[in-house]
Symmetry: none
Subunit: 400 residues, 2 copies
């Protein structure tokens, strides 16, 4: 559905909407039992909720396409992820909750090792310790270049974020990482004329970083890739006419929510902290994006039992969410992370929508298999937001 049309139809109301994203929610049956994580877990609260909800499966990008966290969440937020790609440099910045400003060009940086002739011998500098990465980033902050301010933030091990801040910069800059060993880093090139200042700034930065790193035997050079600007995306609160808040402990999801213009609330590291934050700000917003990370972590680790336990921990907290009395509650996820894959998967993700007007279906268990027969059908993730708006009586009729 066109975001402009949704904006035209959006109307104020006092209803409250919670969108609960269980990261990596969907799973696959474990060989042996033939049951998925959702089918194995004891989830009394989710199943009772599913019984009075409309259920279905969300597909975030397209059939067979495995979404990253960026596209997965943009879909949940109502955007077509194929129309709003988020570059790698920007995602890296969002992943450390870095506050990108409009016009910033972000890149993913690696410390690497080069030999006496400047040829790369290790693209990740032996995955150097994070505290060393922090110290080297501190050094790089002294570099100045023409045309742009340089901002450097460490991420983890050999990874850091480079941000170019200034007027008239473009992200259309080629990578300096040749993605192979035995050759020197590449010069950055402008991929179109608008990027010449940015490319010059990148090359100056690399040349001025080199002498500063000379003594850091293991990490004596940098590689840069994934130059990009923030996507020019219609903001969520304006589009849907919602005061929207994100409750997310993990930086990546805070960053994605900030990208679309949500207020990102301060919260502690646990899901209990997140729920306390939700309760504290209940009066202040119309829409809450509530993120639960544990399901994805367990799935990525390939730990079926841990994912079952993470689902059960969520289920135990669900009554606290329901106690707030949201007019509309959706439970779904940004992608599946089947434990037997130990990675994100392309499988569509169970979803439920609960409200006084959600309608009924025959689904009484919140599982992949059951939700496939629900009233929502199998729908693109970006269709969820219009449904939540409608269930909150926040969309006017189309046409007389």
């Amino acid at each position: 559905m066109d975001l402009g049309l949704l904006h035209d139809l959006a109307q104020p109301n006092t209803t409250k909407i919670i969108l609960c994203s269980l990261d990596g929610l969907g799973g696959l049956p474990r060989p042996g039992t033939g049951k998925s994580e959702l089918e194995t877990a004891r989830l009394p609260n989710l199943h009772v909720l599913a019984k009075r909800s409309a259920c279905g499966l969300l597909r975030h990008v397209g059939p067979g396409i495995t979404p990253g966290s960026g596209p997965g969440h943009l879909g949940l937020f109502g955007y077509d992820p194929l129309q709003h790609p988020v570059g790698r440099g920007v995602l890296e910045a969002l992943g450390i909750d870095f506050h990108l400003k409009p016009g910033d060009v972000a890149a993913r940086g690696n410390f690497c090792t080069v030999d006496a002739q400047g040829r790369i011998t290790d693209r990740r500098a032996g995955r150097l310790a994070t505290d060393l990465c922090v110290k080297l980033c501190e050094k790089l902050r002294s570099v100045t270049v023409d045309f742009a301010e340089i901002v450097i933030e460490p991420v983890k091990e050999h990874r850091f974020v480079l941000v170019l801040r200034g007027e008239g910069l473009s992200g259309r800059v080629s990578e300096t990482d040749p993605q192979t060993l035995g050759v020197p880093p590449l010069h950055a090139r402008a991929l179109d004329p608008s990027a010449e200042r940015a490319a010059a700034a990148v090359n100056q930065f690399v040349e001025r970083a080199r002498p500063l790193l000379r003594d850091a035997a293991q990490a004596n050079m940098v590689l840069l890739r994934g130059f990009d600007k923030q996507p020019d995306i219609p903001l969520f609160p304006g589009t849907f006419r919602l005061r929207a808040a994100a409750v997310a402990a993990y930086p990546m999801y805070r960053g994605l929510a900030r990208l679309v213009g949500m207020d990102v609330l301060d919260t502690g590291p646990t899901f209990a902290d997140e729920i306390a934050t939700l309760e504290r700000h209940w009066a202040d917003f119309d829409f809450f994006f509530l993120h639960y990370k544990d399901t994805d972590k367990a799935g990525e680790d390939g730990d079926f039992d841990a994912k079952v336990a993470a689902l059960e921990r969520f289920d135990a907290r669900l009554p606290d969410v329901l106690a707030l009395g949201p007019d509309v509650l959706a439970v779904s996820g940004d992608h599946s992370t089947p434990s037997i894959l130990a990675a994100h998967g392309w499988q569509p993700v169970p979803a439920l929508v609960s409200s006084a007007y959600c309608g009924a279906d025959h689904v009484s268990r919140f599982t992949e298999r059951d939700c496939a027969g629900g009233a929502l059908g199998i729908l693109p993730a970006q269709d969820l937001m219009p449904l939540l708006m409608a269930n909150g009586l926040r969309l006017a009729k189309y046409g007389a």
Copy 2:
């Protein structure tokens, strides 16, 4: 599906198709029983028919979008309602079964009350009595303007339709209704250069109407909005190569059928009259659009029991429709009107398609919940017409 492609594939046959639209068909469970109107009603004939039909749910505009009657029926007729918007003035004209001609510009008019300084004090003139509206419209018919013939038709209470008829008129004219009190009506402006003649005609009309209404204390001025022309829409009979007739007692649906070029048959006010009309013209057409209004009226009134009764009355007449032996029979609606909403809803609408070739599914009851699991899936309303054509063996193979 592209209408041009459907036209290319359409081929003649002697099969007969009935599309039966139960206005506002879909509903929601009543709190207390947990059963929707369709689940509460005794519908022996519909359920038996559903058992030998392919069932599904129709979505008319998009997930979460509540369709008006115009978009709802255009979807049933095979058009994408987002690509063929129908303006408010045109719908108002269709709603009184006014025969718009190509090039006509229609607007919705309100009689309003203005004070001695010309400032609006009541935008609806106290919802004046319809017979007074008729008399005032009679007065306004004496107004003449440059560039256009003026046609005035009363609607109901304070509402009337203004039609500008003439060469080279455009509907891109701004509204004279300021939508607020304490200010005078606005001048009409051309929203693009092509609309200058129409805007001038509108302003002349308003200036010449003013003295005629001076003595009508309650309704001494007019407000005009929703200027629009008929959409330039490919006509239904040509597109599908069908002799198509509409059997509809209510003016709005007669108007919508005429908009797409169907023959609109004279019929009496009851559904029994409509069925008699259908029987009388059975030999003359290939396709019949049969409209049943009572379901929507009861739903709009928020009268659950009345909607149940309306469904049961339809069910009792269904054998008369089946007795005609249509090769293809579809039963669905233009939108849902859940009694608990007392308004149109966004919920997808049950649909069944019955023919010798419709295929089977597990659905044996014609309800929202059951149809969600049917062989048609949840499909855009405009996909119904190609299915009906195919079931009538009226579409050639695509590609060799």
